[in-house]
């Protein structure tokens, strides 16, 4: 069977995979052993549903629209997809989701993405260029600031390039580690922040002392120089730099099945 993924490439259904697939698979692995996950649409939703299909069938998916414990049989197309409401344990109001469930500290893992990220995992999804006269007006904050503040951990999914990895954000929509160690506490943010950043090149984790993001693993086929070249600042690299396992046959098969459920192929 030949299918075309969300990014438009062809798959033959075997071990062929692209960088998006690798990001999704890495994200789904990061959910192993977790219980409750706050999910946005796109790669995070695919990753969370891949985790459900592969190794954590009881993973509780919470979508911002108010669906708690959604068990979609197909990938949802929006965070308010009717499929989420129909399969949820409970559908609650948006105020309740934000106040009782997210701010209440009940969510273990939240996923975020952004147009720009800096070395401390701070995110920009508001504007490229100046705020008053932007070059590109992006959608804005949405749920991101409070997801980053209140989830016990945050996983960021972002491609690694000079466009996305920047020395200085044009706008800090969402706080990762601010200007470094201690800033989250100073801002009153309760969760641990972005404990894992998954890019198309590998994995980054915050340094225990400084909170600066550090490359801790490379995906298969990626050389360290690729990551250094894709990063505008002098990228910190872990002394025991690891190598991500390639997607297993099961992971890929489950991912293909999930992507095939999307109405828009």
């Amino acid at each position: 069977m030949t299918t075309v993924s969300a990014t438009g490439r062809e798959h033959d259904g075997t071990s062929d995979y692209d960088r998006d697939d690798m990001m999704i698979v890495a994200a789904s692995r990061a959910l192993l052993g977790h219980k409750v996950c706050f999910v946005g649409i796109g790669l995070p939703s695919t990753a969370a549903n891949l985790a459900r299909a592969t190794h954590t069938p009881d993973l509780v998916l919470i979508y911002e629209s108010g669906t708690i414990g959604a068990k979609p049989s197909r990938l949802p197309l929006s965070i308010g997809d009717g499929e989420l409401a129909l399969t949820a344990d409970a559908v609650v109001s948006v105020p309740e989701i934000f106040n009782y469930w997210l701010q209440g500290g009940r969510v273990e893992v939240g996923f975020l993405s952004a147009a720009q990220m800096d070395r401390y995992g701070n995110l920009n999804s508001t504007v490229i260029g100046g705020y008053d006269h932007p070059t590109v007006r992006l959608p804005g904050a949405g749920g991101a600031p409070e997801i980053a503040g209140s989830c016990r951990e945050v996983i960021v999914l972002i491609r690694q390039s000079h466009r996305t990895f920047v020395e200085h954000l044009d706008f800090r929509t969402t706080v990762g580690f601010g200007d470094g160690s201690g800033d989250r506490e100073r801002f009153g943010l309760r969760g641990a922040g972005p404990t894992l950043v998954i890019t198309d090149l590998g994995l980054l984790r915050p340094d225990e002392q400084t909170c600066e993001l550090t490359m801790t693993a490379l995906h298969p086929g990626v050389e360290l120089q690729d990551a250094l070249d894709a990063t505008p600042w002098k990228l910190r690299v872990a002394p025991d730099l690891g190598r991500t396992d390639p997607p297993s046959a099961t992971e890929l098969a489950n991912l293909r099945s999930l992507l095939a459920t999307q109405e828009r192929k």
Partner: protein, 274 residues
């Protein structure tokens, strides 16, 4: 006490030049038909409020209805940018718009505070972000017990809130279900409330997850079947995902946008869903 009226009459009665107009519905139950009627009536200078400005706000902004936008996330869900929104912000077309942006949690709690008769709401958020400096409606507040600093946001009282629901009865009591978002709070926050519904039924039958707005907190009920198209109404219509994709192409250029609005909103036959 809710009056059952035509869309044109109800919009004319509740939406006035310069009003602050909240149009809610979180992905689900988006009152698109009511937004189109506001465009047809040529209302200008509005402060438009919505957690997630999407296609309907893109259309209203592109037609020059908005002076200001109060929002959380302005995009075409699952597709990409809102091009009319971007054109207004980036190029001031058809007019510059003032932005007041919040996180979803912040704007939600502005509605909650207003619905609760409180002058402000409190949340953990905003500190460390650039939103804090940009937005004068966010202020620090110290907890009188722990000394912690939290974010306060002012109650938001729209002049009018417009929402869509599945049903109303003949007395104007309203029933909605599925993902109801911040609809109840936005309605209870407003001075005037207009609800478009799929149908009027003899008697409302409560359903799981159902939310009731009694007729004494609703001003106008309008029957607008498929009034959420291309959004959806659980139990009545499905989301037209292709329409969201098509909107990307239609809205990219000013002339294709204007042609589409002419055909689908302004033309005499356009009061059907399109």
């Amino acid at each position: 006490m809710a009056e059952i009226a035509s869309l044109a009459n109800a919009v004319a009665a509740v939406v006035h030049e310069g009003d602050c107009v909240a149009i809610e519905g979180f992905t689900h139950l988006i009152p698109v038909a009511a937004g189109h009627e506001i465009i047809r009536q040529g209302r200008k200078g509005l402060t438009l409020v919505r957690l997630t400005p999407d296609i309907i706000f893109d259309q209203m902004i592109g037609m020059g209805c908005a002076r200001k936008l109060v929002f959380g996330w302005g995009g075409n869900p699952g597709v990409g940018s809102l091009h009319r929104f971007r054109d207004a912000v980036e190029n001031g077309w058809p007019n510059p718009i003032e932005l007041e942006e919040h996180s979803h949690a912040g704007l939600t709690n502005r509605f909650v505070a207003a619905a609760s008769g409180l002058p402000f709401g409190v949340l953990r958020g905003y500190f460390g972000t650039s939103l804090m400096g940009r937005n004068e409606s966010i202020k620090p507040l110290n907890c009188p017990f722990t000394g912690e600093t939290l974010a306060a946001v002012p109650a938001l009282h729209p002049d009018v809130t417009i929402i869509h629901a599945q049903q109303a009865d003949r007395h104007g009591n309203v029933l909605m279900w599925g993902i109801t978002g911040v609809n109840k709070e936005a309605a209870l926050a407003a001075s005037r409330v207009l609800v478009t519904v799929e149908e009027i039924v003899d008697e409302l039958t409560l359903v799981p997850g159902g939310v009731v707005l009694p007729n004494w907190v609703v001003d106008y009920v309008v029957v607008a079947p498929r009034g959420t198209f291309p959004s959806y109404t659980a139990g009545y219509s499905d989301r037209d995902n292709d329409a969201y994709v098509r909107w990307d192409a239609i809205s990219r250029e000013r002339d294709t946008f204007l042609t589409w609005i002419d055909e689908h909103v302004l033309s005499p036959s356009s009061e059907q869903p399109s």
